[in-house]
């Protein structure tokens, strides 16, 4: 299957670099495929809005830690590092800013298009991974809650484990919430799971 031709028409790029030939070279190349560039240095523009910027180019040489307001690895848009010095300290700094691709200075008449394509795809994967990780962490944190809610249903409605889990799932679906959230709600409304423990002991007795 052949890949789709990307369409960057009406995208906005932000180039975070002091005025330099490099900025002109990147801007020129971006225009060839429909991306308009805005330049800023050393800080993000005061009206910076990640909803209106599609991609950021940033200077790997003179950039510094406080330049971006987001935590490491959570840049909201694809990030392309403009690298002059390949000293490991500088490259590591660019990685810390969640560089999704890079361009080596000097920049001539090529390279920007492929960097935009690679960065956009890498950013998509990064966001997907972050989202999946957050979901997994949420599930992990609620695993105990889910187990308790299932056990609660088994006892209070005399269900098998499978039946209790299915019931929980159906309840969550009809309430349009995650199964973990439904489990939390059940425990909230039936707070005496300790009583359930006691009942179990009574059963055995």
């Amino acid at each position: 299957m052949s890949p789709h031709t990307p369409n960057y028409q009406s995208w906005n790029a932000l180039i975070l670099h002091r005025p330099h030939e490099i900025v002109d070279a990147v801007s020129r190349q971006l225009l060839h495929f429909g991306i308009r560039a805005q330049t800023s240095w050393p800080e993000l523009p005061t009206d910076f809005d990640p909803m209106t910027v599609n991609i950021i180019f940033f200077d790997g040489d003179m950039g510094y830690d406080a330049q971006f307001p987001w935590p490491e690895a959570y840049a909201p848009v694809p990030m392309i590092a403009l690298i002059g010095s390949e000293a490991p300290g500088r490259v590591a700094w660019a990685i810390k800013q969640s560089a999704d691709a890079h361009l080596l200075k000097p920049i001539g008449s090529g390279g920007v298009y492929s960097a935009v394509m690679i960065a956009t795809e890498a950013h998509k994967r990064r966001v997907a991974l972050n989202t999946e990780m957050a979901q997994n962490q949420f599930r992990l944190a609620h695993r105990e809650c889910l187990a308790k809610a299932t056990a609660h249903l088994m006892v209070s409605r005399d269900m098998t484990e499978n039946e209790a889990y299915q019931a929980l799932r159906v309840m969550a679906m009809s309430a349009q919430m995650s199964i973990e959230s439904m489990a939390a709600r059940i425990l909230e409304h039936s707070p005496d799971d300790l009583k359930f423990g006691a009942a179990k002991r009574n059963d055995r007795a």
Binding site: E21, D61, G84, S85, A87, P88, G89, R90, K105, P106
Partner: protein
């Protein structure tokens, strides 16, 4: 006889003003001294004409001035640049025009550009041997200070890596804007944290201000005397030592050349210096490397009968040039010089006393690719200095 010599332009691109002017002036005078010397002898069928541009410490001036020299002018060779930022600025111009930069300063490494010949030390020839010497004698827990640009950042980063490998601990790391002399806060931090030594990667006026302030601290508290807790550096010059006077005495630096070097090659050089630049009292590695660069270019041109940068470079790779540094040769794969770093201690009468001179040429290793496997290098002094990157000076 009587036939006029061919005139060959050579670009000189140093900042003699601005935050690192003291280093730029060394390079500038070093290059011009060599040109004067070459033009006076009958050894060469040409005379060198220096085309001089002074970017005045402004990074944005370097590319345009280099273009003036190489593209619009007649210079195929440029001797110049001090900071890595300025070198990075001229590289695109060299790549477009086929020019060649002879870069005569120590730098942090991690570059091997085909259009640059690197005559200064890179990390395996400065910070690595310096720490090798100092860690064993003063302790493994230093404070790191540097000018806030790539030289300071990267040298301190490498230092931290080596110190941690030696089970040491960096008690603090601070950066000062290039040219800034407001360093009282550093002294207070050092007074409180009592490091074993201070690695000073400051440049120019910041470095001078720091050494003076540290001297005052040592007067108040003798436990900060240079013998106990020295300042150590990779980029101190003889001229700075003279300017600092008593404040400098006893502190350490590393370089592949010191004016006090007791060798025939250096004696020859100093005699020529007295003749061709009698006003210059103090010379450092920055001076000697720029001076050597011009001589190596001239020899290459004479030997190849032309000014093709590739031929000149190959000549410098295949032949030893005996100048102030002793035998000097360029490594084939990296275009950096083989250099023999020494440790110097600033002395009362100016300049440095050479307190450690293993007299071995270290092959340049700009990516520190050969260091990791040589752990012994850092742990037990000189014993780890083994092949394959050592050439003994004969």
């Amino acid at each position: 006889m009587g036939q006029a010599k061919e005139l060959v332009s050579i670009g000189i691109l140093f900042s003699t003003e601005g935050p690192y002017a003291s280093l730029g002036r060394e390079g500038y005078h070093g290059a011009l001294t060599a040109i004067a010397e070459i033009n006076e002898t009958s050894d060469y069928p040409f005379a060198l004409v220096p085309e001089i541009r002074d970017p005045k410490g402004q990074t944005e001036n370097y590319a345009s001035m280099c273009r003036e020299l190489v593209e619009n002018g007649n210079s195929r060779f440029v001797v110049g640049c001090t900071t890595s930022w300025s070198r990075k600025e001229v590289i695109p111009v060299l790549e477009k025009t086929g020019g060649q930069l002879w870069y005569p300063c120590p730098y942090e490494g991690f570059e091997t550009n085909e259009h640059v010949v690197y005559l200064g030390t890179c990390a395996n020839q400065h910070i690595v041997p310096l720490l090798d010497y100092v860690l064993a004698r003063h302790g493994p827990n230093p404070m790191l200070i540097g000018s806030n640009y790539i030289w300071g950042w990267e040298v301190n980063r490498i230092a931290r890596e080596l110190i941690e490998q030696s089970s040491g601990h960096v008690v603090g790391e601070r950066f000062v804007p290039l040219g800034d002399v407001d360093i009282a806060h550093l002294i207070e931090e050092i007074r409180a944290s009592r490091p074993d030594f201070v690695l000073n990667v400051l440049v120019g006026p910041s470095s001078l201000a720091f050494v003076r302030a540290y001297h005052e601290l040592a007067k108040e508290d003798p436990s900060f005397s240079p013998a106990r807790r020295p300042i150590v550096s990779c980029n101190w010059t003889e001229a700075e030592v003279r300017e600092l006077g008593a404040a400098a005495i006893g502190h350490l630096t590393t370089a592949p050349y010191f004016q006090s070097l007791p060798s025939d090659d250096n004696a020859n050089f100093l005699a020529k210096l007295a003749r061709f630049a009698p006003a210059i009292r103090d010379v450092s590695a920055y001076f000697a490397q720029a001076y050597s660069a011009v001589h190596m270019i001239a020899r290459g041109m004479a030997a190849s009968g032309g000014s093709n940068p590739r031929s000149i470079l190959e000549h410098a790779m295949d032949n030893l040039y005996r100048g102030p540094l002793g035998p000097l040769r360029i490594a084939e794969n990296t275009q950096h010089a083989f250099l023999a770093p020494k440790i110097g201690m600033a002395r009362a009468e100016g300049g440095f006393e050479i307190i450690d001179n293993p007299n071995i040429l270290l092959a340049p290793d700009p990516y520190l690719a050969r260091q990791k496997s040589e752990k012994a290098f850092f742990s037990s002094g000189k014993t780890g200095r083994a092949a394959p990157y050592i050439r003994v000076i004969k």
